[in-house]
Structure formats: structure tokens, C-alpha cells
């Protein structure tokens, strides 16, 4: 009998304790609220300079970006990718470090490296990307990196990107010129050189 009454007593007290906790939350919702009204308000993403050489680099891993003018086509990022979501094709140029205007090819990177390749294709399939950041580290020119967040001035890119067609999530960074144009441009300049 004592046990029986003790049980009832425990039940009542612990339940009332629980109800007190929830009532406190109910009454102090203005102070406790943790949610945001999503499309209008957004969670601030941490902004931080980690000493990486892009002034706009953001620690957030949101979306890969390639400064294609700086890419020398070394394929290191393609090899580093664990899920093979990067595809690069290159064409050799006859003269290292020479601009080829017709296909918009710049000869020298921002770091001063003379390019030996025209990057004819640089596709990243963001549907497959696993955001591991492994491709950004081997890049000798630091031209592939993760961007995102409102604090990246250069790339006003949505944090939550979406497309109607999954093919639109394959990002094509190479200059939009056809293979024939590249071929003719590289061979012509070869003749001239």
C-alpha cells in the first residue's frame, strides 16, 4: 500500500515538474524563440578569414567556384575528387603564356604562371559533389574554391541553390566556345608561332 501511494505521489510530482517546465517555455516564447521566418530572415553564416589567398574566400562550403582564367589545367583537383564530379579537358597551346583572343584565353594566371593549356572543358557536377573540400587544397593556382554566403562580394550566390532541371546543376566553367574554334585557334596560332 505504501508503495502504491508512493507511486501515485511520484507520478503527480514528476508530471507537475514537467508541466512547469513546458509552461515556462510557453510563457517566455518571446525570449526563447529559436526559429527564423525562413525566406525573409536567414541565419547569419559565420564569416571568417582563414588566411586563404582569396580575399572573398568564405569558410562556408556552399558551392564550388573556378576562376577559369587562372586555371592551368593540371587536373589535380580532378584526381583529388573522391566522387569524380570534376571533369576537365585541355588542349595544348603552341606558345606558353600567350593570350588567344579569339577564344578568350588568357596566357598568364594571376599568380604569374604561364599557361600551357587551354581548358576546353571544366565541368563540376554539383549534384554529385560531396562538399569535402579536397579539390581546393592541391590547386597550385588556388583557382578552385568554395564560395557562398552573403559576405562573399564577388559571388552573390544563394546559399540554397536549386534548379528546375538537374542538368542545370552541372556547372560549366570553361569559356563557351566550340571544340572546332579551340582547335582552329590553337593550330592557327601554332602556325603563326
Amino acid at each position: 500500500m505504501g508503495n502504491y501511494l508512493k507511486n501515485i505521489w511520484e507520478t503527480i510530482t514528476t508530471m507537475l515538474t514537467g508541466m512547469r517546465v513546458t509552461l515556462q517555455h510557453l510563457l517566455s516564447i518571446r525570449r526563447n524563440n529559436v526559429t527564423l521566418q525562413y525566406p525573409e530572415e536567414r541565419w547569419p553564416r559565420p564569416e571568417r578569414d582563414i588566411g586563404f589567398d582569396h580575399s572573398n574566400y568564405n569558410v562556408i562550403r556552399s558551392r564550388l567556384h573556378v576562376d577559369i582564367d587562372d586555371c592551368i589545367g593540371c587536373l589535380k583537383c580532378e584526381r583529388a575528387c573522391p566522387v569524380d564530379c570534376i571533369k576537365i579537358e585541355t588542349v595544348k597551346v603552341p606558345n606558353r603564356g600567350e593570350d588567344i583572343r579569339s577564344i578568350g584565353h588568357t596566357g598568364v594566371t594571376a599568380n604569374g604562371t604561364k599557361k600551357a593549356m587551354v581548358v576546353s572543358r571544366f565541368d563540376i557536377d554539383m549534384t554529385e559533389c560531396c562538399y569535402c573540400n579536397l579539390c581546393t587544397y592541391p590547386c597550385p593556382e588556388e583557382c578552385i574554391y568554395m564560395t557562398g554566403g552573403p559576405n562573399s562580394e564577388k559571388h552573390e550566390i544563394d546559399y540554397e541553390y536549386s534548379e528546375y532541371d538537374r542538368n542545370d546543376l552541372i556547372f560549366r566553367f570553361a569559356k563557351k566556345v566550340s571544340d572546332e574554334e579551340i582547335e582552329s585557334a590553337t593550330s592557327v596560332s601554332g602556325v603563326e608561332g
Binding site: D53, S55, D84, K87, A110, N111, G112, D123, E142
Partner: protein
């Protein structure tokens, strides 16, 4: 002019190495700035290289300590050799593992679990290994004792086309699932297992995926199994 620039870059790099990235970021000319950055990267890499070399030197001294951390008990091998002289393959055994023949494995495992000097009451892991396309398969058992707090690794090799090992499911209950997993991946049959069937893969899967000579099946239930992604579109 060029001397000036180089001087500027060198200064900036030195400052940056000391932790002041602003020195580089404040350079106004874009080309100079990127040159400075390139120099900084180079300098950092060299510094890192030096440090790795240095630390690898330290490692060679420390490596003796690392070995002592291991809880592997070397006496177990001697004990087993005394007890089961025919079943232990001494040539292939070392301090860290004991290679045994599969025939008496069930008896040995019972001994390992119950003998007061061993008391391996916990089977940590069963790992199947394919030793190469031409050679045998191997099963590795990592045992651990909660009482003595020591560990041992037992290895049993078996033929590739007639892979059979006695089951230890009755000794350590977790052997049940571990053996099913090894069977699933390597096709090693554990004799005496109550319910040996695939565990992770569907029951009608063909082949043993973790064998080195495994070839992906063409179709599964009429669905073409996609090969490695070859280019897009």
C-alpha cells in the same frame, strides 16, 4: 623599380608568415599582390617541409614508445603453441598475430575464451582479406579480453575456391553477424553457422564483392548496373 617591388613582396611575405595577412592584402596593385601571395605559398610550403622532416626525425626516436602502447599479449602465442603444437603455423606468426590452421579453430577458440590465462571474452572484429587474385583468402579475428585487458589477432587462411572455416558463432555470439558479413563479402563459408546468408547485400546478389577478382554483374533484376561514370551526357 623591380628591386623595389621585390623588396615590397619580401617584406609582405615575411610579415604574413608572422601572421599579419593584412600586409599582403593591403598591396594595391593586383599583380604585385598575387605575386606576393604566390611567394607566401611557396614560403609556407618550404617551412612545412622543413618541419615534417624535423618531426619525422623525432618519430624515429619515438617509434619504440608506440609499440609499447599496444595491448597485444605476446605470451598468448607461446601458450597456444604449447597447447596446440600442430595447429599453429609458426613461420607465419609474429608478435602481433598468430596464424593457425582452420581445422581445430573451434577448439582453440573455446580454449581462448575459457582458459584463465587468456579469457578472451570479446570478439572485436572479423575481417576478411583477399591476399591477391592468385592466392588465398584470409580471415582475421581480433580478440580482446575484458578481464586481462589484452588483445590478440588470429589469422586463418583458406583456399579461394573452397573457402571453409569453422564458425565461432557459438563461442562469441557476435560471430553470427560478423561471419555473415564476411560470407557476404568474400564467400567464405563458416561451417556450423546456424543461418549463414547474406546480410548487407540482397540475397540474390551474384559474386563476392570484396574479392579482388570480383566483376560487377551486368544486370540486376533486369536493371542495368551502372558502370563507373564515363564522361557525362
Amino acid at each position: 623599380m623591380t628591386d623595389n617591388l621585390e623588396q615590397l613582396i619580401n617584406d609582405a611575405v615575411e610579415k604574413a608568415l608572422a601572421g599579419d595577412m593584412d600586409a599582403i592584402n593591403n598591396i594595391e596593385d593586383r599583380v604585385t599582390r598575387s605575386k606576393a601571395k604566390a611567394a607566401l605559398v611557396k614560403a609556407k610550403r618550404e617551412a612545412a617541409k622543413e618541419q615534417t622532416e624535423k618531426s619525422s626525425d623525432e618519430n624515429s626516436i619515438d617509434s619504440s614508445d608506440v609499440k609499447q602502447d599496444l595491448t597485444i599479449n605476446e605470451n598468448i602465442a607461446e601458450l597456444l603453441i604449447q597447447q596446440f603444437p600442430d595447429d599453429i603455423i609458426k613461420e607465419l606468426s609474429s608478435k602481433e598475430h598468430i596464424q593457425i590452421q582452420s581445422k581445430n579453430w573451434l577448439i582453440i577458440s573455446k580454449y581462448l575464451r575459457d582458459d584463465p590465462a587468456c579469457l578472451f571474452d570479446s570478439l572485436q572484429c572479423i575481417t576478411g582479406v583477399d591476399l591477391g587474385e592468385e592466392s588465398d583468402l584470409e580471415v582475421r579475428y581480433n580478440l580482446h579480453s575484458m578481464t586481462h585487458r589484452h588483445a590478440v589477432e588470429i589469422r586463418i587462411s583458406c583456399l579461394r575456391n573452397k573457402a571453409k572455416v569453422p564458425s565461432v558463432e557459438s563461442i562469441w555470439r557476435i560471430g553470427d553477424w560478423f561471419e555473415r558479413e564476411t560470407y557476404d563479402m568474400y564467400g567464405i563459408e563458416f561451417e556450423g553457422h546456424r543461418d549463414l546468408k547474406r546480410i548487407l547485400l540482397p540475397e540474390d546478389w551474384e559474386g563476392w564483392p570484396l574479392r579482388k577478382d570480383y566483376e560487377v554483374q551486368e544486370t540486376y533484376h533486369g536493371i542495368v548496373v551502372p558502370k563507373v561514370k564515363e564522361g557525362w551526357e
